[in-house]
C-alpha cells in the first residue's frame, strides 16, 4: 500500500501545477509594468503618457493582440522612485516594464531592471546616458538630446529655405534642469558644427521653479535678437509668452529646439492666440499616416477634452512595441521578450520616422523630428515638406495686432 503523506501530496500538486507552465503562460495575460510620474510636478505629461498607454492597451486588445495586463506605478515625480516602482512591479510578476517619462527616473528604473533581467521599454526620456552607460535591458523609442537637437537644427535650416531668409541673431533662454541643460549643451556643440548662420548673442538660464520670468524676458529683449529660442517645460513657456506680450517683445520668430510646452493643451488654453506662431522642433506623430488618423479619432472620442501630443503618441507606441514583442516571443518570459525586442522591426507606426528598430545599445535611431507651429491654438506640422500639414507663418505677428 502506498501511503500518501501530506508533504508528498503537496509536492505532487506543485509539480502538476508547474509542468504545463509554458502552455499556461501563453494563455495567461503577460503583466506589463508601467512606471510614470502621474502625480507631482510632472503629473501633466505623466497623465498624458498614461492616456497613451491605456489607449494603446485597449486598441491592441480589440485588434486581437496578445493578452496583456497593465499594472501602473506612480513615481510622484521623484527620480529615486523609479527604482522603487520597478522593483515593486517585478515582485508583482511583471516581465516587461514601460517608462518612465523623465531621464532621472528612467535611469533609476533601469538600475532595478538590469539585475532582474527584465526588459525596460523607454517611452520618453532624452538623456544620452540612458543608452550609453551599458544597460542591456533598455530599449528606447525616443530621441536622445543630441539627436533631438540635430533634427531641430535640420528643421531650422529648411525653415530658412521655405521663408527665404533666416533670422541673423538669437537668444537661447533655457530652464536649468537636467533636460534643459543637456539641450543647451547640445545646441552650443552642434550649432557651429552644422553651420547654422544664426549668431547666438546671449544664453540665459533660469531655475525650474521660477515663478516670475519678467527679468529673464527683459534681458532677452534687451539683447534685441531676431530669433528667440526657449527651451522650456509648459508652465515656464506660458510665463515667457505672457511676459513677451506685456513687454511688447516681438522677435521675427520663436523656435524652441527640442522643447516641450507649446504643443500642450495647458499652453494653448492659457495664452490663447498670443501663443500662435510659436514653433518647436520635436518628434511628433506623422499626420499623413492613415493609421495616425485612426488613432487620433479614437483618442478624440475617448478623451474629448485632451490633446493627442507626443507624450500620448510615444506611450501608445511603447505599448505597440511591447505587444509586438510578446506576439513574436510567444510567451511572457523575460528572456524571450528581450530577444524579441532586439529584433523589433515595425514598419507602419504612428510617430514620424523610419521603422522601429533597436541598435545594440537599445536605441531606435530612426525617429524623425518635425517643426510644429501653433496656428489657431493647435500645433500644426509645418516641416519637413513630406509630412507638413500647414504653411509656416513668418515673421511673427506683433502681439498688439492679436487682441
Amino acid at each position: 500500500m502506498i501511503r500518501i503523506t501530506r508533504r508528498a501530496a503537496l509536492a505532487g500538486a506543485a509539480a502538476a501545477l508547474a509542468a504545463p507552465a509554458t502552455i499556461r503562460a501563453q494563455s495567461a495575460p503577460v503583466k506589463v509594468g508601467v512606471i510614470l510620474p502621474t502625480s507631482g510636478v510632472l503629473a501633466v505629461p505623466g497623465q498624458a503618457s498614461r492616456r497613451g498607454i491605456d489607449l494603446g492597451a485597449r486598441m491592441i486588445a480589440e485588434a486581437g493582440g496578445p493578452r496583456m495586463e497593465v499594472i501602473h506605478a506612480d513615481t510622484a515625480s521623484r527620480p529615486e522612485n523609479g527604482r522603487v516602482a520597478a522593483e515593486r512591479l517585478i515582485r508583482e510578476g511583471c516581465t516587461v516594464l514601460v517608462g518612465a517619462w523623465d531621464s532621472g527616473t528612467t535611469i533609476s528604473a533601469a538600475q532595478a531592471a538590469e539585475p532582474a533581467r527584465i526588459p525596460l521599454v523607454v517611452n520618453i526620456a532624452s538623456a544620452p546616458q540612458i543608452t550609453e552607460q551599458g544597460f542591456s535591458m533598455v530599449f528606447r523609442n525616443f530621441t536622445p538630446a543630441n539627436v533631438l537637437i540635430r533634427n531641430a537644427v535640420e528643421r531650422i535650416r529648411e525653415f530658412g529655405q521655405i521663408t527665404g531668409e533666416l533670422p541673423r541673431t538669437a537668444v537661447l533662454l533655457h530652464v536649468n534642469d537636467t533636460f534643459g541643460t543637456s539641450i543647451a549643451q547640445a545646441v552650443s556643440a552642434l550649432w557651429t558644427q552644422l553651420g547654422i548662420p544664426i549668431q547666438i548673442v546671449e544664453t540665459l538660464s533660469y531655475a525650474v521653479t521660477a515663478r516670475d520670468l519678467s527679468a529673464e524676458v527683459a534681458r532677452a529683449k534687451a539683447a534685441n535678437p531676431e530669433l528667440l529660442m526657449p527651451v522650456t517645460r509648459v508652465n515656464d513657456a506660458i510665463l515667457i509668452v505672457r511676459e513677451m506680450v506685456r513687454q511688447d517683445f516681438v522677435p521675427k520668430a520663436i523656435i524652441g529646439p527640442g522643447s516641450p510646452g507649446p504643443y500642450e493643451k495647458a499652453f494653448t488654453d492659457a495664452v490663447g492666440r498670443f501663443g500662435d506662431e510659436y514653433m518647436v522642433c520635436v518628434p511628433w506623430h506623422n499626420p499623413r499616416n492613415p493609421r495616425t488618423a485612426e488613432v487620433l479619432q479614437r483618442f478624440a472620442r475617448e478623451y474629448p477634452n485632451e490633446r493627442f501630443e507626443l507624450n500620448v503618441g510615444f506611450s501608445f507606441e511603447a505599448m505597440e512595441i511591447v505587444a509586438d514583442a510578446i506576439r513574436r516571443a510567444g510567451s511572457g518570459d523575460p528572456a524571450a521578450l528581450h530577444a524579441a525586442l532586439r529584433t523589433t522591426d515595425i514598419q507602419d507606426h504612428i510617430m514620424y520616422g523610419g521603422p522601429i528598430r533597436f541598435d545594440e545599445k537599445g536605441q531606435n535611431n530612426n525617429i524623425g523630428g518635425v517643426m510644429l507651429q501653433n496656428q489657431n491654438q493647435e500645433p500644426k506640422v509645418v516641416g519637413p515638406a513630406e509630412v507638413a500639414e500647414a504653411r509656416a507663418i513668418y515673421p511673427l505677428t506683433p502681439f498688439r495686432n492679436r487682441r
Partner: protein
Amino acid sequence: MDLVAGVIANGVLMGAVYALIAFGLTIIFGVMRVVNFAHGEMVVIGMYAGYFLWAAFDTHPLAAVLPAAALLFLIGYLLQFHLVQHFLARPAHVQFILFIALALVITGAHLVAFGPNPRGIFSLASFEVYRIGGLRLDAVRSQAAAAALLIVALLWAFLRASRLGRAIRAAADNRTGAAVVGIRIRHVYAVTAGIGMACAGAAGALVAPLFDTHPFLAPEFTLIAFITVILGGIGSLPGALLGGLLIGVAEAAAALVLSPSMKSVLSYGLLILVMLARPQGIIGSPEGQR
C-alpha cells in the same frame, strides 16, 4: 536704464505679494506659536477660488479676493476651533506633523478634485500694462501689489484699533492674563487662524492671474512665506512686509546682475546673512524667537 528700472519695479510688486502671503503665516505664529506648514496649500485654495469665480462669471481677478478670503476665514476658524486647538499644548514636532499631514491631505484633495493640469486665468486684462515714461508695469501685478498693501494696512489698523484686534494682541502677549480678564481664548485663537488663512486666501486670489493654478504650487508658497517671515522677523507684521519687498528686489537684482538662474542664491544668501547677524530677523524682537 529702462531695463533696470522695469526689473526692479517688478521686483517691488512681487515683493508686496510675497508680503501678503507671509502675513498670514506670521500672524498665526505670532499669536498661537504654531507654525502652519500648510500655508501654501491655503494659498492654493484661494487660487482655485479665484480661478473658478473667473471661469464661472468672468469676474475681474480682484473681485475674487473677498470671497476667497471669506472662504479661507471659515476654513481657518473651523480648523483651529475643532482641530488645531487640541494640539496647542503638544510638543512642536507633533504640531509640525499635524500641519504636514493637513498639507498632504489638501494637495491630494486638489489633485482628486481638479486634476494636475495648470489652470490659467486667460483674459485680456492679464496682458495689460501701465506705461509710466519708458517704464512698463504689468497691470495685474500692480493691482495685486496695491491690494496686498491695502489688506496689510487694514489688518494693521484692525489689530491696533478694534476691540477684537486688541484681544488678539492681548492673547498673544499673555495667554493666562488674557483669559483672566475674560477674553475667550479659544474663540480669539480661531479668529486669528481665520484671519491668517484669509490672508493666504486673498493672496491666492491675487496671484491666480499671475501663476497658473495647480496642486503642486503649494510648497513653493510655503517656502516663500517662511523665508519672508524669517528675514523680516517671525511674528512681526512690518517685518513680513519688509521681508517680502527685500526678497522681491533681491531676486530681480540677481536676475539682472548675475544670471537669472542665480535668483534664489541672492535671496537665500540674504536669509543666511540675516540669520547669522540678527537671528530674530531684521525687525523682529528677541521674544519672537521663543
